[in-house]
Amino acid sequence: MNILTIKNLDQLCYGAALLGSGGGGDPDVLKDYMHYLLNLHGPVKIITTTEMELDALVVPIALIGAPLISIERIPNAKMFINLFDKIQSVFANKKIILMPVEIGGCNAMTPFILASMYSLPVLDADLIGRAFPKINMCKPAIMGMTQQTAFIASALGEVVCIEAETMAELEDKARTVATAFGCSAAITTFIFEANQYKNYVIEGSISRALELGQSSQHIEGASIIGTGIITDVHHAIENGFLKGYVKICSKQHEFMVFFQNEYLLVTKSNQKIAESPTIISLIESRSRKAITSESLRFGLQVDLVTLIPPDFWLTPKASSQVSLRVFGYELNDAGLLYV
């Protein structure tokens, strides 16, 4: 059994930032608050699937909304407490195990907020194994699950339950509710009985983040595919997502990194060298900070780094659901066509 303490909190944040592939929001936003809670309530248990009680309920937790809005709220647990109260009343007398919906970005922290306040364990797993922008990119959806229930809670006490027939409908309604809740809300979906875990989870996500976060100088298992200075950043919003590209120049090469919240595609002198579902990170050379796509800035010196995604994403069925085509990019022989 592993634990989260104020000692390895930085590790979790750094590893989660790397696994975010540029998206998921900066975990550092919740770090001070998490530090405060761990100081107050003590360490949180991180358990493996073999340590689960099989009749317990696993509740995946995430923030939904705009990261910029989250950083303006004074850090507090209200929305998570409201969400938890609802879950406890719907699933009375159930033992609860928490889990992040996605390990990449600030959502890696969210289950730990509740876990520390209520002394609950967190499962060393998640539904994505990195960060992706949509609910239908969670493992259970890719495995074919359609009908789903979600609960969304605001900081002011409202809780909404959404029952949807399709993942697209769930996504739409959840975003609408989150916007009405001030663009920042707590969500749980894909709640499942512990014995069903094989269909739901990507195991070992939290320990992977902790391992990755051990050293920012020598990141375990990372390949450096380029290094250079950011010479151009192009941001635009389409359908509520941050889209764009960033140009990185070294003496010999020009790299382009395309993103839609997450970094999805890297080209080197117009040749594709990395693509989703491979995890792509930009690390500022000076601070070694993993740069999220919203904080990209002209003039930063960066290392372009890739990490292999969890095995689940390497199967043809899964990778086709998060391919460049799904995100609207088309490549041709001559180079790149940006759709």
Binding site: D32, Y33, H35, Y36, L37, G65, A66, P67, L68, I69, I71, E72, R73, I74, P75, N76, A77, K78, A155, L156, R175, T176, A178, T179, G182, C183, H235, A236, I237, G240, F241, L242, E284, S285, R286, S287, K289, I291, E294, S295, R297, G299, L300
Partner: protein
């Protein structure tokens, strides 16, 4: 007509006199050993006697100072601050949670949460509760608050609640200093709160030093306004500097980097500024300081301030040297402004880096310091400087290193490799940089673009230019130094934060 640049440091006050073309005519240094105003007077009288300098011929004074950052480092001349949060509920995370303990204890006297604040779309979280506000202020003052920081949720977009609180507190409590967060920082509650608390605490040192500065300058014969340089290399009026001291917190490194670049006519490289107590090492990018992603820390406190990425070695010309067996420890203690009273070269007690320089140049002989030893000490110092430089940039084999600052005179040329450049007037680079400070026009707003974003942005740039021209900028010299359009995404009706800064010469 002339322009006068002044740099008020911990050890020296430096002066740079520029003509209308921004060429440096002459400069001078004076020790800052008996308070700002008398040292300033002495320095200006020295300029008048040594050169044909007439204060009536000066069109503007640009003063850069490390007063604010020094009082934070030393925890001196600071107000006790009470924090008022305007929010919908009692939040868990208290103010200053991640501050270094001694800063939190020294600066923060207490905090209160009062119902108020907004949502992202300007919906009130709850209306400002004035009765609770009155109660909160009474309580904070009873706990020892001398200055208040008011921080409302979403105030950078919607400042109404903070302004209403300000008016109400002024009506009931009179003169207590207030700092409103929307005037200090942007979105990001905790970091904006940190900046606001620092602003509130620093009002004391600014007020003490600057409240009668203009009158004193007028007495010396000046007929022009005195401006204070701010973090981004542009100017504040004296009253603005007293109201917003955090905006001056990193102006020292900014001025020395800009000054060094222009003196050396070199727009990319590294600046090594050797002062009396510290050596500041910073990266230049296109003639301006470089700002790293994890920058914005002041004394270990995360702020929303433009802080150049500068590495500080606690060693300078006045640093006291101690010998341990065969190695030498340089600093961190410094004789500071008492250099010419306490150093060995004038018969004082303390062996300083200045004395080492004196021995190396042959100007002095000191019994217990042989030339070989002096060289070993200077090599130790240079080795540490080069280590810092390598931490700043991975490959510095061909990078220009600009050596400036009063303490740089101690380093003999024959110990430096060819990467080092000592620009003309390097000792007063900082005062020259201050004199080069420009006037800025800023726009920071949240908009929803209609048909043609490009055109709308151009309109904002024009607006910013008009603001700068109104403040005295020469229209032809205006250029854009910041243009950011930050999307606030995941929203059904996307909005963007538009940040424009243009700046130009006076």
């Amino acid at each position: 007509m002339y322009k006068l640049g002044i740099d008020v440091g911990g050890t020296n006050i430096d002066f740079a006199v520029l003509n209308q073309m921004d060429n440096l005519l002459f400069g001078s240094k004076t020790l800052a050993d008996d308070g700002l105003s008398s040292s300033l007077c002495r320095g200006i009288k020295k300029l008048m006697s040594e050169y044909d300098f007439d204060p009536r011929q000066v069109s503007a004074i640009h003063l850069g100072t490390t007063l604010a950052v020094n009082s934070l480092l030393e925890l001196k001349s600071l107000y006790k601050v009470g924090v008022i949060r305007l929010a919908s509920h009692t939040p868990d995370l208290p103010p200053a949670y991640q501050w270094p303990k001694k800063h939190r204890q020294h600066i923060l006297s207490g905090f209160q949460t009062v119902a108020g604040g907004r949502e992202y779309n300007n919906a009130a979280l709850s209306p400002l509760n004035k009765e609770a506000l009155l109660h909160a202020v009474n309580k904070l003052i009873a706990e020892g608050a001398e200055s208040l920081a008011i921080v409302g949720v979403f105030s950078p977009f919607y400042a109404e609640d903070e302004l209403e609180a300000e008016a109400y507190i002024q009506a009931h409590f009179g003169e207590i200093p207030l700092s409103l967060s929307y005037q200090v920082g942007g979105i990001g509650f905790i970091t904006r709160e940190n900046s606001t608390i620092l602003n509130a605490t620093l009002k004391k040192v600014m007020k003490n030093n600057f409240h009668d500065l203009q009158a004193q300058l007028n007495n010396l014969g000046f007929r022009c306004p005195c401006y204070i340089t701010q973090n981004d290399g542009t100017l504040l009026t004296l009253n603005e500097a007293i109201a917003f001291p955090v905006r001056t917190i990193s102006s020292g490194p900014t001025n020395s980097i800009i000054g060094a670049c222009h003196l050396a006519d070199c727009m990319d490289g590294i600046v090594v500024d050797v002062g009396g107590t510290s050596t500041d090492i910073g990266l230049i990018q296109q003639g301006r300081p470089f700002y790293s992603l994890n920058g914005g820390f002041v004394s270990g406190i995360s702020c929303q301030l433009l802080i150049p990425d500068v590495h500080v070695l606690a060693m300078g010309g006045g640093s006291i040297i101690k010998k341990n067996d065969k190695t030498y420890q340089i600093g961190p203690e410094s004789v500071g402004a008492a250099l010419y009273k306490k150093c060995r070269s004038v018969g004082g007690e303390c062996l300083t880096l200045y004395d080492v320089g004196q021995v190396l140049s042959g100007a002095q002989q000191i019994a217990e310091l042989s030339r070989a030893e002096a060289e070993a000490i200077m090599q130790t110092y240079l080795h540490l400087v080069k280590n810092e430089i390598e931490r700043l940039l991975p490959d510095v084999s061909k990078t220009a290193i600009l050596l400036v600052g009063g303490g740089a005179a101690n380093i003999p040329d024959d110990l430096l490799d060819q990467r080092f450049i000592r620009p003309p007037h390097y000792q007063i680079a900082n005062a020259y940089g201050a004199a080069l400070s420009e006037v800025a026009g800023k726009i920071d707003c949240v908009v929803q673009f209609k048909n043609n974003p490009e055109e709308e942005i151009l309109a904002y740039i024009e607006q910013a230019k008009m603001i700068a021209i109104k403040k005295g900028a020469i229209p032809d010299s205006l250029r854009i130094i910041e243009k950011k359009v930050l999307p606030l995404y995941y929203m059904p009706e996307p909005r963007q934060r538009v940040l424009i800064t243009v700046s130009g010469r006076m």
